[in-house]
């Protein structure tokens, strides 16, 4: 446990020894620390090479504490993943809802997503790359997480005349295109440059609804 002391720790930790904090406060803080440590460790080593020992060391908790919270590495990874996705989806939804017209809303939501990934490249790697390595349960979680964004995209159906006649899968196509573009940048180690990708991901999202000409026009107008 003491070896974690030398590392940078911005998050508040309960004082050691007798501190009289209620046990649930200590447990919550340990859990949050562990989930954040999981994201960092998996991003640094890859899911396969990461061990429970890496996670407990990075989080500064004991093995006993780890196993009191999770059965194994996979369960801990899935919890870290769900946690990260929840935060991300909330950020995207908040940015989306702050705007009026659908293309503006999509632009704001995508910008929030790209900025979150650029600010925390580990998050992007976790959400789009490492999750594929963590087995079928994680992959299903990953697809389900992407589907949580479909309502945002599907408002495009009401935005365009005849939009109701588009294939039922249109939002999944847009999401696939966006995920492909972002994964490609992450795979090339260009997480910091992700915000530059906004025009392209916006085009990719709008194009199945409004076509290439109108999408290019919207990209030009909204990129200001």
């Amino acid at each position: 446990m003491p070896q974690a002391e030398g590392r940078r720790r911005e998050r508040w930790r309960p004082p050691r020894g007798r501190h009289g904090l209620p046990p649930e406060v200590v447990a919550r803080s340990q859990r949050e620390r562990l989930l954040e440590a999981t994201i960092r460790a998996v991003a640094a080593k890859g899911y396969g090479a990461t061990t429970v020992a890496d996670l407990t060391r990075e989080a500064g908790i004991s093995r006993t504490t780890f196993y009191a919270m999770f059965d194994d590495k996979e369960a801990c990874f899935l919890a870290a993943y769900d946690n990260a996705v929840d935060v991300l989806v909330r950020q995207i939804a908040a940015a989306y809802e702050a705007e009026e017209s659908w293309p503006e809303r999509v632009r704001a939501g995508l910008a929030a997503l790209l900025e979150a990934f650029a600010a925390e490249p580990e998050l992007g790697r976790l959400a789009l790359v490492d999750v594929g390595a963590a087995g079928p349960a994680a992959q299903r979680r990953h697809r389900a997480a992407l589907q949580r964004l479909t309502p945002l995209f599907d408002e495009g159906r009401d935005f365009v005349p005849g939009g109701r006649g588009l294939p039922a899968n249109t939002s999944r196509m847009a999401i696939g295109a966006v995920a492909g573009l972002i994964s490609d940048e992450l795979a090339a180690g260009r997480a910091e440059q992700l915000p530059d990708l906004l025009s392209d991901v916006l085009f990719a999202t709008l194009v199945p609804y409004i076509g290439p000409e109108a999408a290019a026009r919207e990209v030009g107008e909204t990129s200001r």
Binding site: G165, G176, A177, G180, D184, D200, A204, P208, G211
Partner: protein, 201 residues
């Protein structure tokens, strides 16, 4: 038996076993049992499971690629070529769900170099899509439009395979076609192609 074909048998077995059990759960023992080969033969050709998987993946990509190319004719218009190429991929995946799962889903679990091979394979297919720019009549299309098109198609295919619905992929073909074409020709024309493909089934 010639060693060359024994190696190929092991590679084919690797693709099948990974497609049915998943990459992580697959052992060298599973692969040699499926191939009817000895452990000695396996280690004569490959350093370990990972090494064998990468070779198997390369073989798989070459197979799918040559099937797709054989189904297209350079003299056909772009739209027809793309339609025929995509339809061949869908057929191959539906006929061989294990190959499909290995190609699209399990490769993600096989490490960074395997994922790189997957990206390289997708990039090879996207080169075919580049011809779609001609349909833009001088309109400015994003530089990576082919990646958008491929991403949309592979996302839909990924979901079907993950859910174990490889056999139903042909029913999804009209939607896949729409996804592939729409960045180039827009929703109206892509929906026409989609309806035509659905009617032809």
């Amino acid at each position: 038996m010639a060693t060359e074909s024994r190696r190929d048998l092991i590679l084919a077995a690797m693709i099948r076993v990974v497609g049915s059990k998943g990459y992580k759960a697959t052992s060298v023992a599973d692969v040699i049992e499926e191939a009817g080969a000895s452990r000695t033969t396996f280690y004569k050709h490959f350093a370990d499971k990972h090494d064998c998987f990468l070779a198997a993946y390369d073989m798989l990509v070459e197979q799918v690629f040559s099937e797709v190319v054989a189904n297209c004719d350079g003299n056909q218009p772009w739209l027809e070529r793309m339609q025929r190429g995509l339809s061949r991929i869908v057929e191959l995946f539906a006929l061989d769900p294990e190959l499909a799962r290995t190609a699209v889903v399990e490769v993600a679990a096989a490490g960074a170099d395997a994922r790189q091979r997957h990206w390289d394979a997708v990039a090879r297919f996207t080169e075919f899509l580049e011809g779609g720019r001609e349909l833009a009549d001088g309109r400015e299309l994003p530089e990576n439009i082919s990646l958008m098109s491929a991403g949309a198609v592979s996302g839909l295919i990924f979901d079907e395979l993950l859910a174990g619905r490889a056999a139903e992929l042909p029913a999804l073909f009209p939607d896949l076609l729409f996804a592939m074409l729409v960045p180039y020709i827009g929703p109206r024309a892509a929906a026409d192609e989609m309806r035509r493909a659905a009617a032809a089934r």
